[in-house]
C-alpha cells in the first residue's frame, strides 16, 4: 500500500538532539528511542486487546496515545495512521473498518522500529524510508 507520508522524518529527532547538545549533554534521541521501544509494544497490545473486546473507548485511547508518541519522534506515517484510527473511532465507523486500520498499523510499527534503529547512522538515507 502506498502512503503519502514518510515512515520517518529524521529532522524531528535532529531538532530535539540540538536541545541537549547545546548543553554538552547526551543526545535526547537516545532516551526518547528507549522510551518508544519500551512503550510502543505496550500501547499496541492495548490497542489489540481493545479490538478483541470491541471497546471503542480503549481503541480511541490507545490510538491517541500512540499517535502522540509517534509524532514526538518523527514517525510520521505511524502517527497519521493512528490519527485515522482515532478519527474513525470518534466518528463511530463500523468495527470492520477499524480492524483493517489496526492490521495495517502492525506492519507500520515494525517498519517504524527499523527506521528508528537507523538513526543517527552517518550513512543515514532518508530516501530509502519514503
Amino acid at each position: 500500500m502506498n502512503y503519502p507520508w514518510p515512515i520517518f522524518d529524521p529532522s524531528v529527532l535532529e531538532e530535539l538532539d540540538s536541545y541537549t547538545k547545546a548543553h554538552g549533554e547526551e543526545p535526547l534521541s537516545i532516551e526518547l528511542k528507549q522510551i518508544f521501544f519500551k512503550r510502543c509494544p505496550e500501547i499496541y497490545q492495548r490497542l489489540k486487546s481493545g479490538a478483541q473486546v470491541q471497546s471503542i473507548q480503549e481503541i480511541t485511547f490507545a490510538a491517541h496515545t500512540l499517535k502522540s508518541s509517534a509524532a514526538n519522534i518523527g514517525l510520521t506515517r505511524l502517527a497519521k495512521q493512528c490519527e485515522k484510527l482515532e478519527d474513525a473511532c470518534r466518528a463511530r465507523h463500523d468495527m470492520t473498518n477499524m480492524l483493517q486500520l489496526i492490521e495495517e498499523l502492525e506492519e507500520m510499527v515494525g517498519a517504524s522500529f527499523e527506521a528508528l534503529h537507523t538513526y543517527p547512522s552517518p550513512d543515514f538515507n532518508t530516501a530509502a524510508l519514503h
Binding site: 531538532e15 530535539l16 548543553h23 473507548q57 514526538n72
Partner: protein, 235 residues
C-alpha cells in the same frame, strides 16, 4: 530531594517530560497521575506547570487545574495537547490554565509561550521587575533576562539578588542578607556563600558585565560594569 529550579509536568507520556526538560533547559518533575501530583503539592515550588488533560481513558488533569492555580496564582500553567480543537481545552483555560502548547512540542513555541505568560502575569501582579543595566530580574518568576537569554534562580538566590539590586550598588552586610533570605533561622556563612555562587554562576552565563563583589568586612554588592570599563576597586 527536589532540584533547586524545576518545572512540573503531568503527562502519561514519559517522552513529554524529557522533551519539556530539554527544551526549557531545567529539570521537570514528572507526574503521570493527578493524585500523585496532588499529594506532592505542599512540597513543590515550580517555575512553570505543564498539564496534559487527556491522561488515561478515564483520568483527566482538568480537575486538578483549579487546585494548581490556587496553590500558585502567578505560575504559568500551560495545557499540553495534541489536539488544540479539543473541547476540554476551553474548560482548562476557564479553570485557570493560561495557555496551551501543541504536541509534538516545538521548543521555540514553548519558550515563547512561557515567556509571554510570565510577562503577562508579572504585569498583572504590578511592579515585579527590577532592572540593573540591561539585566531584568522578574521577582515573581525568579527569572533573570539579559538580551533574550533567560536563567532562573532558587527562591533564596532570587531573594539575594533582589536585596543587592535594591541596594543600588551599595554594599549590604552579610548579616542583613541572611536575615532577609532566611528570616530568623540561624544560618552559617556557607549557606550564603552557596547562594552567592549560584547567583554569580547564573550571571556569568548571561553576561560578563554584571559583578557580585564581596567587600571584606563590609558585605556584598552588585554592579553593572560594561566590558572595557575599569572595575572600581573598593577599600
Amino acid at each position: 530531594m527536589y532540584p533547586d529550579i524545576y518545572t512540573l509536568t503531568l503527562d502519561d507520556d514519559p517522552m513529554i517530560h524529557a522533551i519539556i526538560a530539554a527544551a526549557m533547559g531545567v529539570p521537570s518533575l514528572s507526574f503521570t497521575h493527578p493524585d500523585a501530583l496532588r499529594r506532592a503539592l505542599p512540597e513543590l515550588d515550580p517555575i512553570a506547570l505543564f498539564i496534559d488533560i487527556n491522561l488515561e481513558a478515564d483520568v483527566s488533569g482538568l480537575d486538578l487545574i483549579p487546585e494548581l492555580r490556587k496553590r500558585w496564582p502567578s505560575c504559568p500553567l500551560l495545557v499540553v495537547t495534541s489536539d488544540p480543537s479539543d473541547d476540554a481545552l476551553g474548560g482548562a483555560l476557564a479553570a485557570g490554565a493560561n495557555d496551551f502548547i501543541r504536541k509534538p512540542i516545538n521548543r521555540n513555541e514553548l519558550l515563547a509561550r512561557v515567556k509571554a505568560r510570565m510577562t503577562e502575569m508579572a504585569r498583572q501582579a504590578g511592579s515585579t521587575q527590577l532592572v540593573l543595566g540591561p539585566l531584568t530580574f522578574n521577582r515573581l518568576h525568579r527569572s533573570l533576562e539579559y538580551r533574550r537569554e533567560r536563567r532562573y534562580l532558587t527562591p533564596q538566590g532570587a531573594c539575594l539578588l533582589e536585596c543587592l539590586i535594591e541596594a543600588q550598588g551599595m554594599a549590604v552586610p552579610r548579616v542583613d542578607l541572611k536575615r532577609r533570605i532566611w528570616s530568623n533561622v540561624k544560618i552559617g556563612d556557607n549557606a550564603l556563600d552557596k547562594k552567592v555562587h549560584e547567583l554569580r554562576s547564573a550571571l556569568r552565563e548571561l553576561t560578563a558585565d554584571i559583578h557580585v563583589q564581596a567587600i571584606y568586612g563590609v558585605g556584598l554588592s552588585i554592579r553593572y560594569q560594561p566590558t572595557g570599563t575599569e572595575i572600581e576597586v573598593e577599600r
